[in-house]
Structures are given as C-alpha cells and as structure tokens.
Amino acid sequence: MMSWDAVYSLLPLVVGLPLLAAIACALLDSHRWRVGLSILFAFLQLSIVVMLLLAIQHSGAGASYRYALGGWGAPLGIDLVVDGLAIILLLITALLVLILSIYSAQYFSAPNKAAGFWPLWWLLVAGLNAAFISADAFNIYVALEIIGLSAVALVALTGTRAALTAALRYALVGLLGSLCYLLGVALLYRAYGTLDLVQLASTVQANPLTWASLALISVGLLLKTALLPLHFWLPSAHASAPAPVSAVLSALVVKASFYLLVRFWLEVLAPATTEFAMNFLGLLGATAIVWGCIAAFRASRLKLLVAYSTVAQLGYLFLLFPLAAASDISVPLIDSVSDVAGSAALAAVIYFIIAHALAKAAMFLAAGNIQSCYGHDTIDKLQGAARSQPIAVFTFAIAGISLIGLPPSGGFIAKWLLLNSAIQNGQWWWVIVMLVGGLLAAVYIGRVLTIAFAQTVAQSGDKMSTHLLPRGLAMCGLVLAISAVLLGFNAEPVLALLEGSAQISSMGAGGL
C-alpha cells in the first residue's frame, strides 16, 4: 500500500519548486533554457498538485493535512495546511501556470523582456501557492508581499507610461493594503498570543479588538481583491500589463486575497463576524456586478473592457458572504439543512472561481493576440477582426459564453449553483442582481462581437497591416476557453470533488 503521508511530505515543494525555478531563470542566460526549464517545472508542479489532490480525496471528505515546517509546530513554528479548498486553488493555479507558461514562451520572444519575465513569473507563482497553503497569519503577510511586488514588477514590464503609472498606483495600494493587514495581525497576536490560524479560530472572542483587527484585515484584503469602492487601481493595471500577466492577475492574483478573506471571515475570525457585515459585503458585491458591467460596456479598449468585467465578476464572489451568513456555514452542524445550503454557496463560489479563472485568462489571451496583431485594441476599430483573427475572436466568444453564464458552460453551472443557494436561503434579491449581471455581460460582450463580425469597409482591407502570430499563441487561449465550457459539461465530477472540499470548517478539525 502506498503511504499517503509520503505524498503529503511533498507539500513544501509547492512553494519550493517555483522558487527554484525563479532562481534558475535568473541565473541562466539562454532564452531556450529558461523556457524549457519553466515548462518542465510547470509540469512538475502540476503533477505534485495532482498527487496531493489524490491524497486528499483518498483521505475522504473534509480532510486536511498539516505540515509543521521545521518540526516545531504551531504556535512557535509555521504550519502549512492543505484542505479541499486549498487544493482546488492549487490545482487551478498549476493548470493555468502550465498553459500560460507555454503561451509566454512565445509571447516574450524578445530576450530583453523575457530575462525579466521568467524569474518574476515564478516568484509570483511561489507567492500564490504560499498564500494558499499557509496556516500562519504573519506568513500570509509575507506571501501577500511576494504576490504584490512581483505582480507590480510584471505589470511594469510593458514599459509604457500607462503601464508604469498603473504599476506605481498598484504598488502603493499594495503597500497600503499589506500594512492594514499587518496591523490587524499585530492586534490579533497581542490579544491571543498566536499567529496560527487554527489556534486563532479556536480562541478568538467577539470583542472590540477582534472587530478592529477583522476590519483592518478586511480592508487590507479588500484593497487587494478590488471590491467595488476599492477597485480603482485594477482596470488600468490589468489592462496595461502584458497579456499573460493580465491573465494571471485577473484569474489568480485577485482570487488569492479573496481566498484569504473567506478564510478569515468564515473560519478564523468567524466568532467576530456579524450578519450585518456579511450582508454589507454582499451589497458591495452586488453593486460591483452592476457597476463593473456598465463600465465594461463604456470601455473604449478591449483589454480595459475585460478588466472591468473582472471587477463585475469579482462581485459575484462576494455574494458568498450573505448566503453563508444566512446558513451559518461556520458552525459544523453536519445534519442541519442550513449547513448544506451554506456549503452549497461555498461550492458555487469555488466553481465560479474556476470557471472565471479559465474564461478570463482565455479572454485576456485573445485580447492580447488581437492587440499584438492590430497594434492597438480600440474596440471601435476592430471591424472585420472575425475574418482576420478568427481564432482569437472565437476564443473571445466562447469565453464570453461562460462569463455571461449561458449553458452549457462552466459559468452557467456556477451561476446556477449560486442562484439555487440564494433561493434556498430565501434571499431572492441576489437572484435579480445575478440575472441583471448576466444580461449586462451579454450586452458588453455582444458589442465587441458585433463589431468584430461587421463587414470590413472595402478600403480598409489593404490598409490593415496585421502581422501573423504564431499559431501556438492563439491555441493557448482557445484551449482555456474550451476548458471553461467543458467544465460545464463535466459538472458532475467537479462537483463531487467540491462536495468534500467545501466544508471549510474542516481545516481546524482535521488537523494533526
């Protein structure tokens, strides 16, 4: 019999391998070596994550594993923890990193930019993975800094004034957010004398200090997640980054801080949360859906449209909080009906994260391809793009189906689950918001497609100087878009996987 503990001991590699890849890419001078090694490391990372996934599944529903780094164990040492929620995010990260690495290998053909890109890329991946598996509040701060600083550096790689300004604002917002988070952690440590999330979860009480630290931690993480009033930095940063970077920023980076918010609100600081606060987050999310869609419709550039669409889609994620509040997700009552509804909301949101990550990454790659072909991405000047760039437009359309939430895509299933959970909880008003959001998404995606499929004016045919892109660039986006749709066809196995993992309160219970 294979010992599953042996598999679990691979857990530190999830952070170690990307760091090693970053060093290798920084030390090596040859472009070919860098690319080859990166793709190899991406494969390795994926296989380790898959092994961990199998181990988690083997251990049964609600399983989690704690790895005591340094052998000290919390609270003195730092523990890593992997449970169903974390492993799903690790998996989607590993998958996207593999495809985006293949894309980037062709995208960054100029050695100058590639030299900077690969080490930063891997450092960002290390930060993401570290944030997903960390069980220590201060360690999460360091992981957030890794994510923030490397994301800023990657945005700045474009080198234009717009990109540099966006990167500078992103950097300042990131610093502000991290410091708010750190003050929250400092207060928690002061009151409870531990940084371990599980120990905090079992000792925190609802008192003013806990509320203060919850508020600070939330403001810090909301700044990084770009929930509506704090979203101002996102569109310019995501729109002006290089295409694969935009893809990873929208698909994973904002999700990392959302994931941490979920951990803190539903798990670590659950005793201090109130239903009112949860509903407030939901309200902000609902506003973000509507406002993001309108801004996306009014955007003049394709990548900016996609970035505003991220603001809107992030809004859906925050509907989790009111739904979870209504069903008391944080209390593990196995047989109660309300708990089932609560974990259904969490499962829906996880499904949403996966579907959005795939679709949005595909969309940014398609937009990037169109941009590098035309030399611009002004939406009004994209007439005839469907003819000159069929694959890119096709990718955009398929990804759009998932974003709108049309059947049979992954986005449809995600929204369906979310709708169901809202109806089960009797919170019908969120249903209206979701339906309006879907309609508005259809409008802004329809606008792009109408222009792309429009007949080109006769004279513009020879005026357009589109240079051909390598086939691989187009295919990567297509693969992502199709998998976003396939996610809808294969809802059963994915849901079965979520079923066991969506029990968030298992993190403490299943610990060693």
Binding site: A162, T165, A166, P235, S236, S240, L304
Partner: protein
C-alpha cells in the same frame, strides 16, 4: 510615576510631533530629512522596548538606506509638479 515613564512620554510626544512635521513639511527635501530623524528617534524607542536587533536594523535600513534611496530619487523627482500622482488618461 517614575523617571522612566516620563522619558517614554517625552519620546512618544516627540515622535508624534516629528511625524506630523514630516508630513506637513513644505519642501520634499525637508520631509526626507525629518523622516530620517524620525527613524533615528524611533530607534531609541526600540532600545527602550528592549528590541536591540530591531534598533540596529532600523538605524541601518529603516532610516539609513530608506533615507538614502529617497534622497537619491528626490534629485530627479524634486520637480513637484512633474512627480505628482496622475492617473493616465490613455486608459479611458
């Protein structure tokens, strides 16, 4: 009320005052100089709090290196109007 606590109160008040002065300084250069002195003053507080390791690091990195970086950048960014935070119009 011992002498110790009076020292602490004086240190606290001067740190707060210095922080306000730093942020309200008319010239950016003055702000940088005041920030460095704030860093050095804070170093004394770290010593008062028994944090010698932090005090050394604060003096060397927090006040020293950060101050040097700010001063070096200030020479190019000293033009107040140019270095203002502007949202890029080309995004919209």
């Amino acid at each position: 009320m011992s002498a110790e606590i009076i020292i602490d109160i004086i240190l606290s008040l001067s740190v707060l005052l210095l922080a306000c002065l730093t942020l309200s300084a008319r010239q950016v250069f003055t702000a940088i100089v005041l920030y460095v002195s704030l860093g050095l003053l804070v170093t004394i507080i770290w010593v008062r709090l028994n944090a010698w390791d932090v005090a050394i690091a604060e003096a060397a990195i927090g006040a020293g290196l950060t101050g040097a970086l700010l001063l070096v950048a200030w020479r190019r960014l000293s033009n107040e109007a140019a270095a203002k935070f502007e949202s890029s119009n080309d995004v919209y």
